[in-house]
Chain length 375, copies 2
């Protein structure tokens, strides 16, 4: 490893900051290009939920997520120590619940799939659910307990990551990257030279390098931020997520009565409007799970652009010598940040990345008829 | 009139700014105390709608509102000229519509009441309504056309009023007034001397002078601000207001596809939280009137505190020598601003205020068993 190696990380979201921090810890000189646009990370719910989000056919993503989730407690402890700030990690676990018959069938399918891949979860009835979370409404009649699926306060984590990076000498450059080549990152009005460039620009990554063209698309997610008002029932202590009449919704608690409600999914291009219909559906679904939310304050309604890929796996690895991709994390940026940062450092060290990361190699499509890739 | 008279206006909302501007035009030296808190005026829908809001038993308020509405076109023209900015006045008129049978009965009662007080309005069926406003949904089956009820973009008007005041030398003092006595306005950390003080502090007025104690209460109103997105149906060109299943809702168009949706009414003290239940109801009612709003962007959800009085009339006049009240305008701050400013100037000039203002005299309760009053 070259102790003098210079790295430019394109993107100041959770992936870029995690990579920058870990690269700085490895002794490299790191700069982060940050467009100043609020990244998807700023809007995110911060669920660390590979089990609750498992899906038949996405076994590699489950393994990747589970491996990164296993890294989180240590990652969070190191982050808190390095930053002097709270990491935001919450360890209360997750309940997956359903309302109608079709939702219950969804839960049964999820439980069967998890049993099939060796990750059994506990089914619970309405009474058992309300014993755990008294704020759940009468419509909630079936659920699964997933104690290992955690959550993180995304904004606390981002602040801690930035502070940890700054403490290790990481520099931040305001600007918008327009192209990444070996040895240089071209900005709107500047060019940054470097030994290695890491593309962690989320939904904006596709335009930065030809090997990413057409392989990362923006997937809009609308999110509400609530706060319990005096006299209102406290929010659930665990993450509660549903299908509610077939729609996915999640409620992720924060400190001091905060609650994040998400998230819609729309393939609508680079559009971060929060739509009235999206907000209406989120409110309806959240109130169906926790009726007392009607008395909560609506603090914020916002939308972020997740970086989606065709198979929901990220793009993690070398695109060409001197250019790495760490993007396409879709709904899983916070979950996959620790392992992604490990993989980036390993790659630059010339070591093998963690085993589950192989499935996310940018070249995976070359043999399968997927989009073209130059790596 | 003493050309050197110094006036301190407490409050930088529409009433305070209108009074300050007109007082400065009359040659007085004016300072405005502005707490920097966003006033109810900032949140307001800006309806100028005395007819649509007429209510049996509130004939004096109707006369006051109608007289002030008649002043608006000239007031707006002078404001635009004095500020070099748009006044925000919109002259497209108002439709009052209803959805269910009870709503239609409400409309019939309103029409009968208006006919009784000599202000007939035109009843319209669903087809006629949709011919005027094609965005109205199929649930809207009955309405009244009130072409004389107008609206103003509250934020444009506030900016223009402030600019007009500044152009005439009005000074603005940051600070929170805590007490008003003849000759002085006491702030948190300062005392301003003056010949006359005008209390235009909206919902915060009651604490400033003993004659207002218990006579002005905060009435929270939650308001949404929407914007038509590309491809969405344009908003109505007129103000559209309902009862929707018995709940009052209004949609007030702004330039460039903007739309203000209001407003809830809650007597909850000094609380400006936007509640989830309030937002949910506003969305539901607005979509019932104009279904295409589902595609609109939700730009802002906010709440303001209207200054309510026991009879919905403002408190307009001298409290004691050297102290004037111009507060308690409840839902009608923008509507009543021109006549209120006229009345304040007339009072200081020693002239009779406009006739309909008499009903708003702060002393009106002394004879009727209402709250105590020292004026």
């Amino acid at each position: 490893m070259n102790q003098q190696q210079t790295v430019v990380v394109v993107g100041g979201g959770v992936i870029g900051l995690s990579a920058a921090w870990q690269l700085a810890r490895s002794g490299r000189a790191v700069r982060v290009v940050d467009s100043g646009q609020r990244a998807a990370s700023w809007v995110a719910g911060g669920m660390l939920a590979p089990i609750a989000e498992a899906w038949p056919g996405e076994e590699e993503l489950l393994e990747l997520g589970a491996a990164s989730l296993a890294r989180w407690p240590e990652f969070a402890a190191e982050l808190a120590a390095a930053s002097g700030l709270p990491s935001g990690l919450r360890t209360e676990g997750t309940l997956v619940v359903g309302v109608d018959g079709a939702d219950r069938a969804d839960l049964d399918r999820l439980a069967a799939h998890l049993a099939h891949v060796g990750r059994s979860v506990t089914p619970l009835g309405g009474r058992e659910l309300r014993r755990r979370e008294p704020s759940l409404g009468p419509a909630v009649r079936r659920g699964l307990e997933v104690p290992g699926d955690l959550a993180v306060d995304n904004r606390l984590a981002l602040a801690a990551l930035r502070a940890a990076a700054v403490n290790l000498g990481v520099e931040f450059c305001d600007g918008r990257a327009v192209r990444v080549r070996p040895g240089e990152v071209e900005l709107d009005e500047d060019v940054l030279r470097c030994d290695v460039a890491v593309i962690a620009a989320g939904a904006h990554s596709a335009e930065l390098h030809p090997a990413l063209a057409g392989r990362v698309r923006p997937v809009k997610g609308e999110v509400l931020r609530l706060r319990a008002r005096p006299g209102a029932l406290p929010p659930p202590s665990r993450t509660v997520r549903g299908p509610v009449h077939g729609r996915q919704v999640y409620l992720v608690p924060r400190d001091e009565g905060g609650l994040v409600v998400g998230a819609t999914q729309h393939d609508v291009g680079f559009d971060t409007d929060t739509t009235l219909g999206g907000v209406r559906d989120l409110i309806a679904d959240a109130e169906r799970l926790v009726p007392g939310l009607t008395e909560y304050a609506l603090v914020e309604a916002s939308a972020g652009l997740r970086p989606g890929t065709h198979d929901n796996l990220p793009l993690l690895g070398e695109l060409e010598p001197g250019v790495l991709a760490a993007t396409g994390h879709h709904r899983n940026g916070f979950l996959l940040a620790p392992l992604t940062a490990d993989a980036v450092v390993a790659e630059l060290d010339g070591r093998e990345p963690p085993e589950p990361v192989r499935a996310a190699a940018p070249g995976r499509d070359t043999d399968t008829g997927g989009p073209p890739c130059r790596s």
